[in-house]
Amino acid sequence: MFNFILLILIYTAIFALMAIGQNLITGYVGLLSLTQAGFFAIGSYVTAILSVTYGWNFWLTVPMAALISSFFGLLIGLPTLRLKGDYLAIATLGFGEIVRNILNNWDSLTNGPMGIQRIPMISLFGIQISPYKKWGFLVLVWIFVLVAYFLFDRLAKSRLGRALEAIREDEIAASSMGINVTRYKVWAFILGAAVAGVAGSLQAEFILSVTPGAFTFMVSIMVLCMVVLGGMGNFKAVILGAFIIQFISYFPQLVGLSNVIPPQFKQILFGLILVVMMIWRPQGILGREKRSAPRRLFRSGGDV
């Protein structure tokens, strides 16, 4: 039981990273991207392949995961982001499926449907952070979430964040105000991809193996639910959303009813959340964060 709570918190963190990226793309820029699962998969495989096949240290694979995911973000973003928003959802969904298709078929690199096993555990200053001893791993993943939260929240509060919101509100007016709409959209996409890639690295280290089956469309839907449920345009809210969705996900096991409650129930519930929230509370549980003046962290810090 207690173990399950730790498990939920770890998955909350991994998914919160993806939700933070999705929030920048969907909550701020207003683009419906359905590809977080794809970037998540890429991040996972980068860590798995680099550490198993090439013997890289985990800490070096993380930036690579972010980098390669962003590269794919750029690749998918450049052609599709010029287009009308509705197509983006389909194109990105297709991209996620293509990634899975390739992972399944490129045997020499990904070992096909069998995936890659025996990923070495993370070590930090000589201490091994084993996913079996959940506390250490829990602290590690939440440090990642905190860092991502501060970076993205700051970005959103800067004038860049305001430009992204302007694009969401009215692309034509934004471009007439000197904002390079396509460029900013691509940037949002790249950053969202990067953070999902990092989430993938952590996922690989938590499971210690990767298989294409773990990166289905459902992952993208769960991430979307987290953002919609918590509140678009609010980074704290999407972390809350991540917790609620993971809690629902593991609820049957938590209460020992996994034999009684069929596995489809939670997924039906995710679908219902999307519909119901859109109809009755489109702003999510916490709602959009009110934009306010950024404050200095230290009052008498002076200029740097």
Binding site: G85, N104, Q264, I268
Partner: protein, 305 residues
């Protein structure tokens, strides 16, 4: 590779597949034409329709084969169509209609939710195992100068052609069809002219869903049926609609057939590995969006400033 007979063989297979895509693409395109919205749940409505058709056929076909089996086949198809039509209208009423004045993102998200609900309900109620229609007729191919054509393929093509002609006539000639076209051009003006837009939208959903169910039933006959089939099938049909020019009925037909041919010939002649067959559609999508975003038969529209 290369013989004329082989070419016609692939052509035949491609046309069959393309006809099915075209039927599904029509639903996307009709709804998009009126509401400017992608009905993400369309593929799942198809899945439900094909299950209903399959179950109906199993229930009524009886033990002995005969003329009744043929009638039962079409009754089952009709049952699937009716059920899907009702489902499509219900979904529109419950999950989309309240969001007509909401942000552009809202109905899309709601549609994704509906899609997820349907496919998982199906998995829960009917299991995840894939099924095939237990069709009792002889399906041994007929050979025409080295090209093998199965009775199923003929049946599929016949149904597809009948459906398309019927739809085209309906939209071009009937009163409701005219009202549909008017609504898709300008909803507000259509309302002023006394057209009940809500009713037209409901009918559009019903027709689109029924066509999807027909396609689903044909898939059950030729390929197989499983709860998550709607996602990939729906996506490809959407690509077909975009290739043809979304919002354009003839475009959807053309796009569907082109996509079917592209997939068949892509695997057979261009040597694309079968495992990557599904990728063809998306590459086609990205290319068309870059080269001619309004599609082959679509009109370019620019946002009014």
């Amino acid at each position: 590779m290369g013989s004329i007979a082989e070419f016609f063989q692939h052509l035949m297979n491609g046309l069959t597949l393309g006809g099915i895509y075209a039927l599904i693409a029509l639903g996307y395109t009709m709804v998009y034409g009126i509401l400017k919205f992608i009905n993400f749940a369309h593929g799942d409505i198809l899945m439900v329709g094909s299950y209903i058709g399959l179950f109906t056929f199993d229930a009524i076909r009886g033990q002995t084969m005969g003329p009744w089996t043929v009638i039962a086949f079409f009754i089952a198809m009709l049952a699937g169509m009716l059920f899907s039509a009702g489902l499509g209208m219900a979904i529109e009423r419950i999950a989309y209609k309240p969001l007509r004045r909401a942000t552009r993102l809202a109905p899309l998200l709601s549609a994704i939710g509906v899609s997820f609900i349907l496919s998982n309900m199906a998995a829960w109620m009917w299991g995840t195992k894939s099924r095939k229609l237990d069709y009792p007729f002889d399906n041994s191919p007929i050979y025409l100068k080295g090209v093998s054509i199965t009775p199923h393929q003929i049946l599929i093509l016949a149904v597809v052609i009948v459906m398309m002609v019927a739809l085209k006539l309906f939209v071009d000639r009937s009163r409701i069809g005219k009202a549909m076209r008017a609504t898709s051009l300008d909803q507000d003006t259509a309302k002023l002219m006394g057209i009940k837009a809500d009713k037209i939208i409901a009918i559009t959903f019903a027709i689109g869903s029924a066509l999807a169910a027909t396609a689903g039933f044909l898939i059950a006959l030729e390929i197989k049926v499983y709860p998550s089939m709607g996602t990939m099938t729906g996506l490809k049909a959407f690509v077909a609609a975009v290739v043809g020019g979304i919002g354009n009925i003839s475009g959807a037909m053309l796009g569907g057939i082109l996509l079917g041919l592209l997939e068949t010939f892509g695997v057979a002649l261009l040597g694309i590995p079968y495992g990557l067959r599904d990728t063809i559609a998306f590459v086609a999508l990205i290319i068309i969006l870059l080269v001619k975003p309004e599609g082959l038969l679509g009109k370019a529209e620019k946002e009014k400033v």
